[in-house]
């Protein structure tokens, strides 16, 4: 078995009205994500990954530290982008969260406004390339965190992601240029599909279904 690029759950022009233009999605999904998949498939044999799930590969590569970086770069980015496409939607945005998710954000993170502020701060302060996350921590509580480059909360052992924002410049440069804070505001207010985040909360985080 090999890893594969999942189809976008919407057309490449579906988010243009929400400030993620068609060219961004074409490049981001068709070029960037696809390149990670190709590179990861090229590592399966040399790195002995056959038979392992994507999540297992991320966790093991993360534990291996610097030695695991070549695998984590590609495996992490494959996982991260699978999640990223799912948590956005043409019907995303707004502040009406499903009750279960809203209650959990209230109790663990002090409410939606505080969560958004913390998530945006995580993304803005991730120097260089990386990701901002909402995760189910190992203690079962929701937590906001960030990781560099291709790492993710599975590779760091922090927990299970239910929402992730790509803060590599390729994610926002055509739409927002250097202004990452505006990209993150737009992501949180216009793009996130809260019903997907809620179902990931219910299922304990994203299961990619992909394996080497």
């Amino acid at each position: 078995m090999a890893f594969s690029l999942p189809a976008l759950p919407y057309s490449t022009n579906a988010l243009a009205g929400q400030s993620m233009c068609q060219e961004t999605l074409e490049l981001h999904h068709g070029k960037h994500h696809n390149a990670y998949v190709t590179a990861l498939n090229g590592l399966i044999e040399a790195k002995g990954l056959a038979g392992k799930s994507l999540e297992q590969i991320c966790a093991e590569a993360g534990k291996a530290g610097a030695d695991g970086a070549p695998v984590l770069n590609q495996a992490g980015q494959h996982y991260n982008h699978i999640l990223f496409w799912q948590v956005m939607s043409p019907s995303g945005g707004g502040d009406k969260l499903p009750a279960r998710l809203a209650a959990k954000i209230d109790s663990d993170l002090g409410g939606l406004a505080a969560f958004k502020e913390a998530f945006k701060a995580a993304g803005v302060t991730q120097f260089g390339s990386g990701w901002a996350w909402l995760i189910i921590g190992t203690d079962g509580k929701l937590k906001v965190t960030k990781t560099a480059n291709g790492a993710n909360p599975i590779s760091t052992g922090e927990g299970q992601p239910i929402l992730g924002a790509d803060v590599w410049e390729h994610a926002y440069y055509l739409d927002f240029r250097n202004v990452r804070p505006n990209y993150l505001d737009n992501f949180l207010n216009k793009l996130v599909d809260w019903s997907v985040v809620d179902s990931l909360l219910g299922s304990g985080g994203l299961k990619s279904g992909q394996a080497a």
Binding site: A16, G17, S19, C21, Q22, E23, L27, K31, H32, A35, A69, N73, F127, G128, S129, G130, A148, N149, G150, W168, E169, H170, Y173, L174, D175, F176, R177, N178, V179, N182
Partner: protein
């Protein structure tokens, strides 16, 4: 349709023209120079001087927004640290471990960013070609000649995962080496001089090259000012190269 044309077509769309094209220009006009010891060096040439290899809009945003942001951060950071504020940037970077812990990471990121971009503007604006004189001899002696240097440099730049830089460094004796760094780390942090370097953060090339970093790395050699690089080489050996 080429990527440039596709983007031009996109920018012509009404909503995009409003949100994408107008936004950075308005922001640029409002970017007041932050006060403090650190200042943004003016570009030594016009924004379009590196066309067609590096587009004018990229130069404008890169210099006026990205580099300027590092300056603003630095000046904010040293406000309550008078001793650091009085130090030359190259000293701050060479002695990061001695800097106040509260601002050490900030100095590394924004100080490195200031140093790297200051160097970067200097070595561009040229017409490419080849180095001459003792710089050419050193390239042959230490890096296997210009063709090998370009191939190794482009390879190292392509292999930087995420954001970073690829540099050619020199020591005081004039020995050259190739090194890549993540994010805004600088060889100055290792006590080396930077002879020249190329920025492989996506912001350096995304508007024109999108995901094609190797094409950007290849094209960049066409704007290198080898006379400037030779000046830096002579200064490094004379002990007068700062950044």
């Amino acid at each position: 349709m080429s990527a440039m044309n596709r983007r031009a077509a996109l920018f012509a769309g009404a909503s995009l023209a409003a949100t994408v094209f107008a936004m950075p220009r308005r922001a640029l006009a409002q970017a007041a120079a932050p006060t403090g010891p650190f200042t943004l060096p003016p570009l030594p040439y016009a924004f379009n001087a590196n066309e067609p290899h590096i587009d004018a809009l990229t130069m404008e945003i890169h210099h006026g927004r990205h580099h300027a942001a590092f300056i603003g951060n630095l000046n904010n950071m040293v406000k309550d640290h008078g001793q650091v504020a009085a130090m030359p940037l190259e000293q701050i970077l060479a002695r990061l471990g001695e800097m106040p812990e509260a601002i050490r990471t900030g100095l590394r990121n924004s100080g490195g960013g200031h140093a790297n971009h200051t160097m970067f503007w200097q070595v561009m604006g040229g017409k490419g070609g080849a180095p001459a004189g003792d710089l050419a001899a050193a390239v042959t002696r230490d890096l296997g000649g210009l063709d090998k240097l370009k191939a190794d440099f482009n390879g190292a730049g392509a292999r930087v995962f995420g954001s970073g830089w690829v540099f050619v460094t020199t020591d005081r004796a004039g020995k050259l080496a190739l090194v890549s760094k993540p994010n805004q780390d600088s060889p100055l942090m290792d006590g080396q001089h930077v002879l020249f370097g190329n920025d492989v953060w996506e912001h350096a090339y995304y508007l024109k090259y999108q995901n094609r970093r190797p094409a950007y790395l290849e094209a960049w050699w066409n704007v290198v000012d080898w006379a400037k690089v030779a000046e830096r080489y002579a200064a490094a050996k004379a002990g007068s190269l700062r950044i």
